[in-house]
């Protein structure tokens, strides 16, 4: 470190000499320069989203012929695009079904990952068995496996089942209708687990050792300790992981493309939107409204639970 902190000085800031007039002017100038730069960046970051939002509310003919900024000269608002994209046309074109699918994919995966991660992390942190550290290192290492390594074998496991020698151990999952979600849930859960366990482990190891040991001494088993003592204490961590996992499930494209296919029965919003962007790239009235439909839920989660979202990211910034 370049400077050592002056611990002796009781009130270093207040004792500083008053800045001269010139210094004050210079500081204010550089301060406003900095503010201007910050504002430019903030505008650059917000403008694309704002443009899309405004467009999604303009009538179709206007979106296709004039830029969204002309809205300020002749403001006309309509919810027609949303109505059209959500409920219009044949069922294959209605986003409302895909919206439901996104929920049906994201919610259970969130529950599965959070519960399993908490159980596993607890076992790795507080149970006493040989090889514990090796298992933890193994799971930590699995975080770096790219999804892509797993897609082909996992898909063939689902579609062909498992055969050892000549005996069929697991039958192929030829699932009809709503049961097709099962594959997506299992795939998402597997891919979410390594980071989930790692995050939970970070929190659970920080619990005071004396707490667990006292409960053990009183004769409580691990099941009781986990339910009565650990779970209530790690609620903030559970919320953080839930939010992250929900958003990953909701926002994912690749896993859904491969394990859900593109049918209206199971495909989430992201799959449908990506398809629309490809085949109907010029239907801006549907694309803009559709994009916003897919963003509504994440944005609500983001603005209401931002604190937990940030906490989860901070704890997981080691993610590989």
């Amino acid at each position: 470190m370049i400077l050592s902190p002056p611990r002796a000085a009781p009130e270093p800031a207040r004792a500083a000499p008053r800045p001269t007039a010139v210094q004050r002017v210079r500081r204010r100038l550089s301060g406003s320069g900095a503010s201007a730069a910050a504002i430019v960046i903030a505008v650059l970051w917000t403008l694309p989203t704002a443009g899309l939002l405004i467009s999604s509310l303009r009538p179709e003919e206007q979106i296709k012929t004039t830029g969204w900024w002309t809205f300020f000269a002749e403001p006309v608002l309509t919810l027609r695009n949303y109505d059209d994209v959500l409920f219009g046309g044949t069922s294959q074109r209605q986003l409302a079904s895909y919206f439901v699918n996104s929920f049906v994919i994201a919610l259970p995966t969130m529950v599965f990952v959070v519960v399993l991660a908490a159980l596993t992390a607890y076992a790795l942190a507080w149970m006493n068995f040989p090889g514990r550290d090796w298992i933890f290192i193994g799971i930590f290492a699995l975080q770096i496996v790219p999804l892509q390594m797993s897609l082909v074998p996992l898909l063939s496991l689902f579609s062909d089942g498992v055969t050892i020698g000549t005996t069929q151990v697991l039958p192929p999952w030829d699932l009809p209708g709503a049961f097709q979600f099962t594959r997506v849930w299992v795939a998402h859960t597997i891919f979410g687990l390594p980071l989930g366990i790692f995050l939970m482990h970070n929190f659970i190891t920080q619990l005071p050792k004396s707490l667990i040991e006292a409960a053990r001494a009183d004769g409580a088993g691990h099941g009781v300790i986990f339910r009565r003592i650990v779970l209530p204490l790690i609620v903030p961590a559970l919320v953080s992981l839930s939010i992250l996992q929900f958003l990953w499930g909701w926002n994912d494209l690749l896993v859904a493309l491969i394990f859900a296919g593109g049918s209206v029965e199971v495909a989430p919003l992201t799959v449908r939107l990506a398809e629309m962007a490809g085949t109907r790239g010029e239907e801006w009235q549907r694309l803009t409204a559709g994009a916003f439909v897919s963003m509504v839920v994440p944005l609500i989660v983001f603005f209401s639970l931002q604190r937990y979202f940030v906490r989860g990211l901070l704890a997981g910034s080691m993610k590989g």
């Binding site: 370049i2 400077l3 902190p5 270093p12 800031a13 910050a38 960046i41 903030a42 970051w45 917000t46 694309p48 989203t49 467009s55 004039t66 830029g67 900024w69 959500l86 069922s91 209605q94 079904s97 049906v104 519960v115 159980l119 076992a123 149970m127 006493n128 068995f129 496996v145 790219p146 999804l147 892509q148 797993s150 082909v152 074998p153 996992l154 209708g177 709503a178 979600f181 099962t182 849930w185 597997i190 390594p194 691990h222 339910r227 926002n251 494209l253 690749l254 491969i258 992201t270 990506a274 962007a277 994009a291 897919s294 963003m295 989660v301 603005f303 940030v310 990211l313 910034s317 590989g320």
Partner: protein, 328 residues
């Protein structure tokens, strides 16, 4: 045809059944765990808690890593061994070399620019009156999907022939500046750079949040002492803030690099990998799942994995060094 709510009921029903069944199994586990024998080691208890996740990870990640590596040495159907042919194919075909070059562009530009933007911005708004609002604006793209973000930017890059009214902001700015509108996403290698902008737009918020936390952790005494010594804002940043948070900067750079290697959604949504914009992740999907070339796809996946490993090793070494420095 109106939206049919009854068509959605089976999905919701299956959702409720699946979650309830899962929780019931976990409930049984929690009871069973304390019913087992009590020995010096918690064998029974550990087995109860670790088995479900253990099976999923073995079946869904450990086995597939081995299997994909094996597949990468086999032909399109996965049954005829072909030796290193798939890797030779990867490094000799011009279209795949283009894919590798694009991935390199992504990994060079996206992490650097996203981290730099996040760093500059977090310093600029640090301790300003509107800090939390200002941070939310930059952070918001983190919450939305890559697909949503891609549509937002597709709209920014939208093109209308010269003379017509532009509907994309970028081309309108060009026209106002006296230039000719261009179909931005069609011309390489500029289009790859324009796709990279989307990832920077998304990830800068992540960099800002992590770096901002690190900046706040710089001891106030050091900053005060420097101010008393007459150090101005610029010098404060270069001599004190940046050296103090350097380990975190590295963590952010590497984390975003790893994310960048796997980028798929942006390319697929914005160009579908056409016009010379494909990257490894997109090509892997195309080869394995659209053209039925399991060998090619697997080789690309293995190559991606090999690229990730050194980044993560650096990451782990950094983390250990930081922890040692903190415990001193």
């Amino acid at each position: 045809m109106a939206f049919d709510i009854f068509a959605e009921l089976p999905k919701l029903l299956w959702l409720v059944i699946a979650v309830a069944a899962f929780l019931a199994v976990i409930g049984v586990l929690l009871v069973a765990v304390d019913g087992g024998p009590r020995t010096r080691y918690d064998w029974w208890q550990a087995a109860c808690f670790l088995t479900p996740a253990g099976i999923l990870l073995l079946v869904g990640l450990v086995y597939p890593v081995v299997r994909t590596t094996v597949l990468s040495f086999h032909g399109p159907g996965g049954d005829t061994p072909v030796g290193w042919d798939n890797y030779v194919w990867m490094f000799t075909r011009p279209e795949i070399l283009l894919v590798l070059r694009n991935t390199l562009l992504w990994v060079v530009f996206a992490p650097l620019l996203a981290t730099a933007t996040g760093l500059v911005y977090s310093v600029l708004v640090d301790r300003s009156r509107y800090e939390s609002v200002a941070k939310s604006l930059l952070f918001m793209p983190m919450a939305i999907s890559f697909v949503g973000a891609s549509i937002i930017w597709k709209f920014v890059y939208a093109y209308r022939p010269a003379g017509a009214d532009q509907i994309g902001v970028l081309n309108q700015l060009v026209v106002w500046a006296g230039g000719e509108p261009r179909p931005w996403l069609l011309d390489g290698p500029l289009n790859t750079l324009l796709l990279i902008v989307v990832l920077i737009w998304i990830q800068a918020g992540f960099a800002m949040v992590i770096l901002s936390a690190a900046i706040k952790a710089v001891p106030a005494e050091i900053v005060e002492a420097a101010r008393i010594d007459g150090v101005n804002g610029w010098q404060l940043f270069w001599r004190i803030t940046l050296p103090s948070i350097w380990p975190t900067v590295m963590v952010v750079l590497i984390t975003i690099s790893v994310q960048t290697l796997k980028v798929f959604d942006i390319v697929r949504t914005m160009t579908g990998g056409q016009f010379g914009t494909s990257v490894i992740a997109n090509e892997m999907y195309g080869q394995a799942f659209r053209y039925g070339q399991l060998g090619h796809g697997s080789a690309l996946a293995v190559f991606m994995f090999v690229l990730v490993i050194p980044l993560v090793l650096v990451q782990i070494r950094n983390a250990r060094r930081t922890r040692e420095a903190q415990s001193l």
